[in-house]
């Protein structure tokens, strides 16, 4: 029997290998592009999952941190000619700073009140993206954002963009998996299950919630910066309330408290609109239906369903071996 730790390393390596070889099996740039979006959305879903799935704190404004990262990068590179990598770092710091400052008052709230506060925060930033036309270009967007580059390699075609995004995504996933299995991850889940007991055990719940909110904002902003440098054009619609809700949906559909679940949720919600084109505006109804069905019948998300199936198959195989 393999130790738990070894099995987890194997699963991650297998996942990474699958992701990194996928482009060889995809025909045409359309699918590569879809996978680039899956990567970005996975990063965002993982970031939100740290807060929502582990610490149990809702945020209905996470698209704002994504937008903040994108706009910081966009503005710094187009208007101040700052190097894109440096701009990404500054975007990260900016989001961290903001999250830290608003985290203390906001995360004192619980349940619906926290949902409302984060919702308000998201809407405020959305309005700022729209109204500060001089900086952000307002509703018509900000264009001409440079691609990232390392030396002479410019990340401007489908292939190397795919690898750029997915190396970041795999990194974010690995760090989050590590975090979730450490004393910090346990403390977060403890807060989720019983905040009082966690505090009595010496977990500084208030500070830790703010810290994980800050980390989550940082990761979201990095995803936003990557998005800006990949798309080279950004506009506020991508960072509005709808997208915040979509992120929460990804996390819940995939599985609260599961990093691979976040990938699954992100993959499904990224591909679904493509598949649901025939339903036009009714796709939102299908999202809603999915969310209802999954919370009712698979509260652990699709990943828990997959795990159950895998376990059944495995025990079936083992059973057969014993029979033979």
């Amino acid at each position: 029997m393999m130790t738990k730790e070894k099995r987890q390393i194997l699963i991650f390596l297998f996942f990474a290998a699958a992701v990194l070889t996928t482009p060889f099996f995809l025909k045409g740039s359309y699918f590569l592009n879809v996978f680039v979006f899956i990567g970005i959305n996975t990063m965002l879903a993982v970031a939100l999952n740290l807060l929502l799935g582990y610490a149990g704190q809702i945020s209905l404004g996470h698209a704002a941190f994504f937008g903040l990262g994108a706009y910081c990068s966009g503005i710094l590179t187009t208007q101040f000619s700052i190097d894109p990598w440096l701009a990404m770092m500054l975007a990260g710091f900016c989001a961290m700073g903001l999250a830290f400052v608003i985290g203390f008052p906001i995360l004192k709230l619980k349940g619906h009140y926290l949902a409302m506060a984060t919702l308000g925060f998201g809407i405020i930033l959305y309005i700022i993206f729209n109204e500060t036309v001089g900086w952000t270009g307002g509703p018509s967007g900000l264009s001409g954002i440079p691609n990232l580059h390392i030396g002479s390699i410019h990340f401007d075609n489908d292939w190397n963009t795919y690898y750029l995004i997915w190396i970041f995504t795999l990194g974010v996933m690995l760090l989050s998996i590590n975090l979730s299995q450490s004393r910090i991850g346990r403390a977060l889940r403890a807060i989720h299950d019983s905040e009082v007991a966690a505090r009595v055990m010496g977990v500084n719940a208030r500070l830790l919630k703010v810290q994980i909110f800050t980390v989550s904002a940082l990761l979201s902003a990095v995803a936003g910066s990557l998005y800006a440098h990949t798309m080279t054009f950004i506009s506020p619609v991508a960072f509005g309330f709808n997208f915040s809700v979509e992120l929460v949906t990804m996390v819940i559909i995939g599985g609260l408290g599961s990093i691979y679940g976040s990938f699954l949720g992100a993959a499904i919600l990224t591909m679904l609109p493509e598949l649901l084109r025939v339903f036009q505006d009714f796709d939102i109804v299908i999202y809603g239906l999915m969310l209802i069905l999954i919370t009712m019948y698979l509260p652990g998300g699709l990943i828990s369903g997959l795990e159950t199936v895998a376990r059944m198959v495995m025990s079936r195989i083992r059973g057969k071996q014993i029979d033979a």
């Binding site: 450490s182 910090i184 346990r186 403890a190 009595v200 055990m201 010496g202 719940a205």
Partner: protein
């Protein structure tokens, strides 16, 4: 060890505790008894930092901990269990005990995310110590179970293991025998004695008189928010004021 000085707690117009002064000797097992509504749990909530008293001070050793938050008290070696068993239900038994070692470990978010060597070493120590405490309470076999699937009695034991993992100087137990059957209560009594042998001071609120009289060296009686009596089990049993509080006057 633990000293309460004139603790008063008012909830609006209701006085739950009135001028209660208590001192708990180092290394002792002390019981707090009293009829329902006497203020026992309120007292625990004040000492463990969940409530703030209206007036009075709490001292742990020489430190005035009157206004300390619960998370700070754990680091100073004061920990408690709950009447209604507050486990981390979705985590495994082992993970529950590992949370107890939170204050005895220090890796931050950065070193945890990047799995720095120090963090890996610390994680190993945390796991070993947590297993040791599960072994101490007899839960080692259940280490991989999800905590919410534990039967009630074992949940109680897990709460105690988790509290012990904090490596406390004093442990407050809120009705540890409530809901246990007679065999489990006997086992609990011997567990509490073994905890005392580790040099940990035990303060418990309990309704099970047989257990209290059996294991406690001294007993505090609360009635209607006031301290009614303090003494050895024998003295308490013979105290006329206590008898009338329990049986009604006349």
């Amino acid at each position: 060890m633990l000293r309460l000085n004139g603790i008063t707690k008012q909830f609006g117009g209701l006085t739950a505790l009135e001028d209660v002064s208590i001192s708990v000797a180092q290394g002792s097992i002390t019981g707090i008894i009293g009829p329902n509504g006497a203020g026992k749990t309120t007292l625990f909530n004040i000492v463990s930092g969940l409530y703030t008293q209206t007036s009075g001070q709490v001292y742990l050793g020489e430190t005035n901990i009157s206004l300390f938050a619960p998370e700070k008290l754990a680091g100073l070696g004061l920990v408690r269990t709950f009447q209604n068993v507050e486990l981390f239900g979705q985590m495994t038994v082992l993970e529950n005990a590992m949370v107890g070692l939170h204050t005895r470990s220090h890796s931050g978010i950065f070193s945890c995310a990047f799995k720095l060597p120090g963090q890996i070493r610390e994680e190993k120590t945390i796991m070993e110590k947590a297993l040791k405490w599960l072994d101490f309470t007899g839960l080692a076999d259940c280490a991989d179970l999800t905590a919410c699937n534990l039967p009630f009695g074992k949940g109680r034991l897990l709460e105690i293991s988790r509290a012990l993992a904090v490596e406390p100087r004093i442990i407050l137990m809120d009705e540890p025998a409530a809901g246990l059957n007679s065999r489990e209560t006997v086992e609990l009594a011997s567990l509490i004695r073994r905890i005392k042998e580790l040099g940990i001071t035990v303060l418990l609120v309990e309704h099970d008189m047989e257990l209290v009289m059996d294991i406690c060296e001294s007993i505090i009686v609360l009635n209607l928010g006031k301290k009614l009596a303090y003494g050895t089990p024998r003295e308490i049993q013979e105290n006329p004021a206590v008898i009338s509080a329990y049986l009604g006057e006349g």
